[in-house]
């Protein structure tokens, strides 16, 4: 047993020696899974430009990311929600706008819903497509799991105090929701606008489509900001990475992925 523990300790030592934090050339980004794919894309391109820098992108959720940034476990926290007052001492860097799109199958003739209709659907009061002027079939409602940033934002922007009906299907990623809506003609779900693709149809909300302009102007109602947060204003390689994100190059990368750039 002793030799085993010794072995373990040795392993740890070896590994610690190569811990990214120690090298100073690695940046750790952790947080919202909504931001994660975009952060990964940015990291991928940035690391090609600067091979000496390593960027680690981790999920964990917005709260975990903010916590990690505050505790110094991550250089940058990624959040898809606004900071609460207690978190305001952190430095916040908005990097992009994201809309939450309400999506349906491409064959669905519906063009749009009102905010109120969406709320009633997710409360389980509206249950049939006929009530919305389509076929006599149940609406297959899809939501995200408790704790998800997108769900949080959706609940704040749409539901208010009302609870999402327990009969809704629950999926644990934007991709999974989109996948189901793409295959089920009678499904209705919500995902980050950045992840809407040709396989699903985004609906107008209160008559406004989630286009880039509408999101930036906040005429589209279901909009949130993607933030990076850090304990102190970023310096060194970390600042260079943030500058890259906010540069025209970085912003256009985000736009190419479907987000709306924060800097015009």
């Amino acid at each position: 047993m002793r030799s085993f523990i010794l072995c373990l300790a040795l392993l740890c030592l070896v590994a610690c020696g190569s811990r990214p934090e120690a090298s100073g050339q690695a940046i750790c980004v952790a947080g919202s899974t909504s931001v994660q794919p975009f952060a990964e894309k940015l990291a991928e391109v940035y690391m090609e430009l600067h091979p000496e820098i390593r960027i680690d992108v981790q999920g964990g959720g917005s709260s975990a990311g903010i916590y990690a940034a505050r505790e110094g476990a991550a250089h940058l926290g990624a959040s898809s929600r606004e900071l609460v007052p207690a978190e305001k001492e952190l430095v916040e860097i908005p990097i992009a706008w994201d809309g939450i799109a309400v999506i349906v199958h491409r064959d669905n003739p519906l063009r749009g819903l009102s905010l109120r209709q969406i709320r009633e659907l997710y409360q389980g009061r509206l249950r049939n497509w006929r009530e919305l002027g389509w076929v006599d079939r149940a609406v297959h409602l899809i939501t995200r799991e408790e704790g998800s940033g997108t769900r949080n934002a959706f609940e704040e922007l749409v539901m208010g105090r009302a609870e999402i009906t327990p009969t809704a299907l629950v999926q644990d990623s934007n991709g999974a929701v989109r996948e189901i809506v793409a295959h089920d003609r009678h499904a209705l779900g919500y995902i980050s606008v950045g992840l809407v693709d040709a396989r699903v149809k985004a609906l107008e909300v209160d008559g406004v489509l989630p286009t880039r302009e509408n999101i930036r102007s906040q005429r589209y109602k279901l909009v949130r900001r993607f933030l990076l947060v850090s304990k102190l204003p970023p310096t060194g390689p970390c600042k260079e990475f943030v500058d890259f994100i906010l540069s025209a190059r970085g912003q256009s990368l985000l736009e190419a992925e479907g987000l709306v750039g924060y800097e015009e």
């Binding site: 990214p20 981790q58 991709g175 999974a176 989109r178 996948e179 396989r199």
Partner: protein, 278 residues
């Protein structure tokens, strides 16, 4: 009307054969489907290119590295523990409450679902010991998962070593440990290897444990504290988020054939071992 027993036997038998055939059919359909859809996309470049664009394009290189890294760690930790346990149970002790406790522990451990192991690894390795989502956390948790497999196969293999070898060694003046190290373990090596191969197969296919202990970072892990996405986790994400069906199939093909190959090799090895000592 009472049926002639022969007639009813014929009826029942054809039903049973049909059910067996159906079961086989499920297996065949799964394997054929994955092969047909997946194998054509598997190429050297698929295996050696890192994934691009979340895995929408590119290969699976970084997930292969993560898989190898995590699995190797799990095996490196579990093998000495498992073989040591087997040696203790077979060579050093007689049946007692202690051996019963140890066997019971191994049996129960084998029944613990992977999600529970994932929770455990998450709280102990990721949080309490501060390893984070890492190759280290994933490897250690997997080691616990495969430990019962290695114990069981090693014990069987060691028991299959003829008793005369031990008597001979003893009469040649070898100590018990010399007998084990020089004769018993080498003779049981094929059986132990079988256990290791089965464990590797099990580790390759595991998802739930690794999602919560090793994380899902797509970058190639270079240290024990890096997060790593194994092939199975990568496949899960590709399939579930509809990122790329062709790449999902190709990954599934690589995954499935590695596991089936390992299991088949383990099986033949075990058969050969059994023949040698009978």
């Amino acid at each position: 009307m009472r049926l002639d027993p022969r007639v009813s036997q014929a009826v029942v038998l054809s039903l049973l054969w049909a059910l067996t055939g159906f079961t086989l059919l499920i297996l065949i359909v799964i394997i054929v489907n994955i092969s047909v859809e997946g194998l054509p996309r598997v190429s050297l470049s698929f295996l050696t290119q890192p994934p691009h664009d979340m895995g929408r394009s590119g290969g699976i290189f970084s997930t292969l590295v993560a898989t190898a890294f995590i699995t190797a760690l799990a095996i490196a930790v579990a093998t000495p523990l498992g073989v040591g346990t087997a040696v203790y149970l077979t060579e050093y002790t007689r049946e007692s409450w202690l051996t019963r406790l140890i066997r019971f522990g191994a049996e129960c451990l084998a029944g613990v679902p992977s999600i529970i192991l994932g929770l455990f690894g998450f709280v102990l390795f990721v949080l309490k010991l501060g390893f984070g989502w890492s190759v280290l956390s994933g490897g250690l948790t997997l080691a616990i998962m495969v430990l019962p497999i290695i114990i069981r196969t090693s014990e069987e293999a060691i028991k299959a070593v003829p008793e005369e070898y031990r008597v001979v060694c003893c009469s040649l003046g070898l100590s018990r440990w010399q007998t084990i190290a020089r004769i018993v373990l080498p003779s049981a090596l094929p059986g132990i290897t079988t256990g290791v191969m089965l464990s590797v197969g099990r580790s390759l296919g595991e998802t739930a444990v690794l999602l919560f202990t090793a994380g899902a970072a797509l970058r190639t892990p270079v240290s024990l504290f890096d997060s790593g996405r194994t092939m199975a986790v990568h496949f899960y994400i590709l399939a579930r988020e509809g990122i790329s069906l062709p790449n999902a199939y190709a990954t599934a093909a690589v995954l499935m054939f590695s596991i089936l190959g390992l299991n088949l090799a383990a099986y033949t090895l075990m058969q050969r071992l059994m023949r040698r000592f009978s």
